[in-house]
Subunit: 264 residues, 3 copies
């Protein structure tokens, strides 16, 4: 049973996602295709990278993850096959795999050059269909990564989960994602914050607002829809939330907003 | 072949739905996962309950239905496993299963307490991933409901499909759902209305408007986009519709709007 | 392994798509169901026809394609089974299969009248569930098209991919689709344009604007978000695009907009 997950910014209203499913099923009718999302904001590589990092660990080892957020399609940006953490990843070399590389320093990255695995007729605008999908199908049939092309040592990589620590101990970070419920996900990894904050007080500053209420579940804020709080989020990062309302809208912030965290 | 359907308010743009699929496929790679919808309006338990009631009878007996609309996640609301009508249902105890209970008075409901079936590391904000998905996977592998926990005799239950009958015979109900096309679904079950209205005239009052045109298919109203009509809907309830336009927008109503039905 | 793809205008927030999946899995639990899209604009038959034409060739021969954009549901419009190009298509007789008929003049079309394959209880508003889905399930189990009903020789057919050529050689066409990225897909098939434009200059007029920059991939326009260009699109038609922005919004046009193409 070969599992292929699919993350794209194709939207759900077009033929794009359906077409890449057809290509994969034409080459491996037994592949199990799993839609993750097709509504990464168009061309938003960071949102794609965040999403990929959040779901893939929950799939079985050996799963293949197809990720297409690809504003540089048709240019000389490299198509990649990545082996990391026991999983396989296929997509463009534009930073999409940044969190994968953070998690597994031993990741092996290859430039997919072997056109024998591509569709015979290739467009310059839809490599998801013409290159990435057939490469995933080949991987799902057992073709080894070595077959696709040479090792890449300098894949594009964003450091957006990196946190800077100021001399006074303030951690300088940012909101890296706003989810469907309006929760604002920061780049402060809860594993690290928890250690440093044991028995002390966390306070997070976003614009002029200081938030120092730390909850463990949304229900603790029940009935207080106008009070922001911090919460360890399910993707492993500290989040800013409001009870049953959108933190992003309440605070008027979006991904990219700088924030500061003090532990006292 | 174990079928697991998935209904959530997670939205389609995040990692949430993909993650619960990964959890289930990690534990049962042969499970057949079926997306029903991930765009129940956030925290709208009634919309989730209506949707669940509308689709599940069309699945084969033995199917497992995962329903997560869960504003109380992390609080003491109980996670449930429900056996009803030959199907299995998994989700929070907050009214989501109201229509299931209406349909099968012999439904058996269990409080899912046996953490041996949960993910080892659990968050307080994502029980869909950490509790409900692995419980579904276990059910799909043949674990019997008894294993998950004790019987619950007082599950949360909304009476939103109940219709009140006034002394003069007027039925007092409400719009319980607005669908993608803007059709307004009432809580008047067509099976019951049909009996009472044979050879008589139905008239439905919504706000100041009285609608007494009853059609059997949309096409009968062809070319009359400004005339409301009643129609027995595909979910088994009487609906208010306009031809090729949104009844909800035309009438400026939403779920919850009270309505009155007269049979004369 | 029987593959059934699904294209509808049902939206993703309702029980409609889930219900037809349940009907098909109830009758053939081994069918592989593939969501293409459920967000064809409501009642937009042309958008459905375009989408169907764009993805089906990428599926394996023998695939079954269920297409439901059906404003005439319940009226006397005929339900069809179409055999064309090695694929099977199921849906209403309203023009949805126009491009399929363009591609395969030998297409065999049948009026689905044999109610033995329908759901026993049928509504007048949801033939996707009651007629089309069980017919697809029967086809996936090997029932031959002949079983469903008599040949139709006059299916509804739109000529929307036809291009008119004026006496001076100007080609008169239209925008037939706007995709998720805002690219405007014209009805000028690139195969035909390429021949005629070899060594000559293409210029496309939309409203008052003349566009004569022809690129082969989006990246060539990198950094020039305000300059429209033409590009051979992945569906096989000439497209109007802007780099990282919506051509439809920039030009304020929608599907149906007339355009003129000159080759000099």
């Amino acid at each position: 049973m070969a599992i292929i997950t699919i993350v794209t910014d194709f939207g759900t209203e077009d033929y794009f996602a359906g077409t890449i499913k057809g290509v994969m099923l034409s080459r491996n009718p037994r592949a199990v295709l799993v839609d993750i999302t097709h509504t990464i904001p168009p061309h938003d590589i960071l949102a794609g990278a965040f999403t990929l990092g959040a779901f893939y660990p929950y799939f079985p080892p050996g799963s293949i993850h197809l990720a297409v957020v690809d504003p540089g399609v048709g240019s000389d940006r490299r198509p990649l096959v990545v082996e990391a953490g026991g999983h396989l990843f296929v997509g463009p070399d534009n930073g999409l795999f940044s969190i994968i590389f953070d998690r597994d320093p031993a990741a092996r990255v290859r430039h997919t050059t072997n056109s024998e695995y591509f569709l015979p007729a290739r467009s310059s605008t839809f490599h998801g269909r013409d290159i990435f999908a057939p490469v995933c199908a080949a991987l799902s049939l057992g073709v080894v990564p070595e077959r696709f092309g040479p090792i890449v040592t300098d894949p594009v990589r964003f450091e957006f989960t990196q946190v800077e620590v100021a001399p006074d101990g303030t951690m300088l970070g940012s909101i890296i994602h706003v989810d469907h419920f309006g929760n604002c996900i920061t780049n402060f990894a809860w594993d690290q914050i928890r250690e440093r904050s044991r028995g002390r007080t966390l306070s997070l500053q976003v614009r002029e607002l200081v938030i120092d209420r730390l909850l463990t579940h949304y229900g603790e804020a029940s009935g207080q829809p106008l009070e922001p709080f911090l919460i360890p989020g399910s993707a492993g990062f500290l989040e800013i939330s409001f009870w049953c309302s959108s933190a992003a809208r309440q605070l008027n912030v979006a991904a990219g907003e700088p924030i500061r965290l003090l532990v006292r």
